[in-house]
Subunit: 317 residues, 2 copies
Amino acid sequence: MVLAADLGGTNLRMAVIGENGETKYRSRSSTPTTRRRDDVVELLIDSARECIEAIKPHAAVTAFGIAAPAVLDHDAGKILIAPNLPELNDFPLAATIADALNIEVFLENDANAAAIGENWLGASNGFSSSICVTLGTGVGGGVIIDGKPLRGIDGTAGEIGHICVEPFGHPCGCGSVGCLEQYSSATAVVRMAGELASQFPESKIASPIDRSSLDVYNAAVLGDPLAIEVFRRFGFYLGVALGGLINVLNPEVIVVGGGVSDSWEVFIEPLRSEIQKRAFKRPADRVSIVKAKLGDDAGILGVAKLAFSSSNIGLVV
Amino acid sequence: MVLAADLGGTNLRMAVIGENGETKYRSRSSTPTTRRRDDVVELLIDSARECIEAIKPHAAVTAFGIAAPAVLDHDAGKILIAPNLPELNDFPLAATIADALNIEVFLENDANAAAIGENWLGASNGFSSSICVTLGTGVGGGVIIDGKPLRGIDGTAGEIGHICVEPFGHPCGCGSVGCLEQYSSATAVVRMAGELASQFPESKIASPIDRSSLDVYNAAVLGDPLAIEVFRRFGFYLGVALGGLINVLNPEVIVVGGGVSDSWEVFIEPLRSEIQKRAFKRPADRVSIVKAKLGDDAGILGVAKLAFSSSNIGLVV
């Protein structure tokens, strides 16, 4: 068995996972907001000890995988930049945890971990090349080629949310304009609904207070023209980005996850239509566009897989 | 020594290559325009025999690599679709040539071959991850990850020219609109000069007869405002596409080749500026944007490398 953690800006989720992906024990806690590095490290160690103790009567834990929202130096087992957990910047997290627990520790970027998890037990199982796109507050991504996560020379690969889909489009937090994230995220749904509201005075979501991305989805399902137009644009721009990626990577499957993927039925048609128009026929006919299966567990299962495959992939401390 | 061929729609170029990439013998002939498969096969075999005979007193040729402008089935050694040589569609070219010459034959897509060649002896030598973009009549591409060409599940990967850079842009021959190829190719330079001519009546290239892509380049070097604007757009859109690719692939180097890469000095500044704006800082600072070094020989050297590495990469017949 292995220990697996998904360290987010809000929550730390941890589980003991068996070799077929079974969850044997789970813990959940709030990520400290003190911005003190020691508090995060201590929580990781305490939660890990709790999990290890809980499972001890039955089995031993042989390795520990941690998914972090960060750019990593894999060889050094180090977090380089963690925008939502800046107290961990430039910190050798793997070695620190490994020393405290006397166990092998593996780090992986959270988006890559989710792609690995879906590839192990989820929607891309059985495929050697896949793209995982996560539609949430922002748009994240992970790419798997020949069964391995594509990390890039600096560990920054996979940033599908920052493909340009409108060269003179909406400003993005990354400093660019017109990134996919500005059109196909929960944030974008709310913004686009506001931008288009005056053109649809009859819409049920014409008032700003009824315009969470879930409100817009619910309205779209009920036939609201403004909400339908918002998700048409959402799917259109996702298709613009994925069409190009299909031409460059020719993957077998694209897994669509994240909270907004629950709005699948209101964006999948414009998405598929744009892919058919924009990608070459052969790779477009080949690629399956599927919903993610593992939900919030994808990252945990991904680092569990890494921990199990420790001799092949990832960092051994 | 190995034999290497670059089979194009216009010319067949062939060479005997030594293990350090030295050219020992060269032949060149016009690709038959009869649209008869046997004529192309016969020319390949005759040219190969000429090369083998010419070098015989000095050395033996141990393998034969062929770069073709086609989508390939590598496992079967088969050409699937060759838009400019349709007589070769669905044809087991490798086995046919191997039988005739009694030699191992390896096929590779021409854009991938160029990327491999530049990686072996050219501008991306020493790097394990690179992108090769070829700016000619169209825009081609090859991606190398972990030292290996990215072919994709159907052999269609690398089509950088068909990343969308203007979602409602100029129609493309591929059936989409706004592809990079419509903004950063020789064809695009001529078209954009025409589209913008009326805004620059003082331009030396205001007359359509003076508007080959080379004319536009020459005018840009001399300070012609229309020509400068055309190449500014050329570099801008190339930066839009490459900025996104840098975010997704995080490569070490991008090699820019093809005939229009000779216009480097008039598009490199807008290209670099767009990459700095659009790609994340870390991968943007990392990536080198460099001119291709091998010119027309990149493809031949790429398949020569494949032939030398036959036990590792490619198809053994």
